[in-house]
Subunit: 244 residues, 4 copies
């Protein structure tokens, strides 16, 4: 029997992509496409939806998530902007109902694996820098994924690399620094979304690189979340929980 | 107190590199440098060595390892060519003496991590190819590391990628195939030893790349093995056992 | 005053892309979109078109080109499949009318530059291999661009690299060979169209790499051809003629 | 008949490398190895040297070059630090004697080609960034080669890329800027000397990358300069003059 799914935020780019992906996959039945004007709670009840994918905006995500959990559907939250204390509130709410759900800041399986391996490699190779490369329409730098990667590296590396007395003859050449990890942000037309994590060792280097060519790269992770969320009994954070 | 180490096969390139590395590290005391002409058993007794690093040749490695274990020193075997049944015999011998030892086909930490991540990523992204690139003095292709990587991928991937009806207009263009993994071997002057493992997903790719610039890249792994081998109570296989 | 352009083959993917690009550029006026059913000669006369872009199929390109030249418009031929003797016939026809035109097998500026530099570098660094990487829907291997690149390298390199006695333990690992240049073809989902040309020297390598993310990468070259073709007085071959 | 060569600065690392390379090549006869303590003018006369390779230090290079030219030998100047006005003085001196010579800031053929192609590509693809990557013992950033590359790009690009209102959430993330070209400097153990020049176009990118693994990468360029310098009748600047 297929899993009944509602896409909330159906008119956005990610929403449209999700609808295409869900319709093409026989494991799922898309029972409603909803937006800001709809009464989400009622539609969940009418359709008897198992899962609601939220792909809306930072200002509505917390209310949407509460509505979904209260209505007894499994939330798959792909919208960014949820605050840590809001997440804790939702986690509590889900626990009271013994209901599984998941909040996913990055649905790309490749990006999640890149971060997993970067976090692990930092234990053995503490010298590391990040180069993120995006299209020139991305106006902030460095990217959220680069900052997240630096945080994960910081969690596991046991020692900071030796500080060298380096001289920048042009300011900024050594990039940004987050937890002692240098981050370099390239912005060029023709690029989409790419990141390299470079580890330096003794006469060797290890590079972990992710390239995303299109937002459809998020769909396998989104479908995986929709499939697995029913097996949970709590609200989880991060796609990595689904990659055994 | 420092760990007493013998380097067996001291005159080879790797032996010379190991001597430099051990002498430079206060955790270790290099108590002897031995070769084919020496009576290894006697020298282990005289020097009261804790660890013997074997960096000799495929035809002597099994006898050397037996000698080391019988003499009660911890073996760190960096020589390739040990057969699986020989390894089992040695493992039995070490178990009888409750003695720790390790056989290490590749001492490079970066290469071991590359293989670890490739093995893991294959669970989620079954479409994968390997490009290995070496100096033009390397006369066999593909490299042992590439074949080993394909075997690790084969262990974990749940499905084979869909077979496409591909037409090679020039024979060999799609490379070698090992367990359904395509392997491409580049040979050029100027290269040293490099490998990329490319995973393809939905509008995204994940690349894990290792570059070795010099054989000194094997020394941190060798020193780690010398340090940790005394904590074991059995004969282990592979540096990955030392990388928590 | 804007240049009047007809797109012939308007219903194909490239045709559709060309229409978008031409409409967005004030240098051009799109005066007609034509296809197989249309009388191209009459439409050229009626619209007084300056340029006709042909993006049709291999079986019609020669006839289309003759029609365009006979009607006195400047042809920009983006369709592949024109035979060398057909090109010579068309060149003769254009010369008789003192009419400029251009045949362009690859409109991507980046790909044309990659081939230009590969051709040049081969003079100084004769050791070279090609890695081309495409999406898994591309069923032939190696790519036409890879073969063309090998031909250009062959034109300029003065010596063949020394032949080594290499042993393939798995057949195909060293790839295809064209004019002594090894070509490796990777096919994976997530890739689009990519090529690396690797030159090996003395303890150094030089890599020239082109990445195409989408067929819109062909549009700047197509617009450049439409702009410049009116300045010519003969039929040219290859976008490189427009890149001073 | 072989070309008689003196290496001045024979005790330095580059001097030692040059001696090995010249001795191994039958086109050359190494007639003297000189240093700070030697009377270079007398030795040139005694040995009847054709060419003097200067690999000394910034503070002595100008005097050495004057001595070489005055003595009538062809100078191959590999020492950096010559000032533009000093070069002009030497050029004048060589012209008066109708004597060929060459000043070479970078002997690597691969690096010279990388800069040549970067300079050329900037005409067609004005959006470009540079990533240079060096071992962590290199204490200045960005590298001289990166700055030189930015200058060459500046010479040929016709337009500056459109300025976007980018927000750096961590200072330095967008790197250094030289003539509007962003430069990113990575410093890690395990690296040697590497540079990528990334050009962005319409849904495509072009990358030109140079990797140097060891200082022996400078030798083919040095030998080429020693061979060709006798054919000149003036003082030249840059190895590119020798690469037809």
């Amino acid at each position: 029997m297929s899993i009944k799914v509602i896409v909330n935020g159906a008119n956005g780019r990610m929403g449209q992509e999700a609808i295409i992906a869900l319709n093409a996959d026989p494991r799922f039945e898309l029972v409603a496409q909803t937006g800001r004007a709809d009464d989400l709670a009622s539609i969940i009840k009418e359709t008897n939806a198992d899962v609601v994918v939220d792909l809306t905006t930072a200002d509505s995500v917390f209310e949407n998530a509460k509505t979904i959990i209260t209505a007894g559907a499994h939330p798959v939250i792909g919208t960014s902007g949820l605050q840590p204390e809001e997440f804790m509130t939702l986690k509590q709410l889900a626990a009271e109902k013994n209901l599984g759900g998941i909040v996913v800041p990055n649905f790309s399986i490749g990006a999640v694996l890149m971060m997993r391996y970067a976090r692990d490699a930092a234990k053995y190779l503490p010298d590391v820098e990040i180069i993120e490369m995006h299209h020139d329409g991305k106006l902030d730098a460095p990217s959220g994924t680069a900052i997240k990667t630096a945080e994960l590296i910081h969690e596991t590396r046991k020692s900071l690399p030796e500080q060298k007395q380096l001289r920048e003859t042009i300011t900024g050449s050594r990039g940004a620094e987050k937890h002692g990890v240098h981050i370099h942000a390239v912005r060029l037309p023709g690029l989409v979304a790419h990141q390299q994590v470079l580890f330096g060792g003794n006469a060797e280097t290890l590079t972990i690189r992710h390239d995303s060519m299109h937002r459809s790269s998020f769909m396998p992770g989104l479908l995986l979340a929709c499939e697995k969320v029913g097996d949970f009994h709590q609200l989880m954070y991060g796609l990595e929980n689904l990659l055994d």
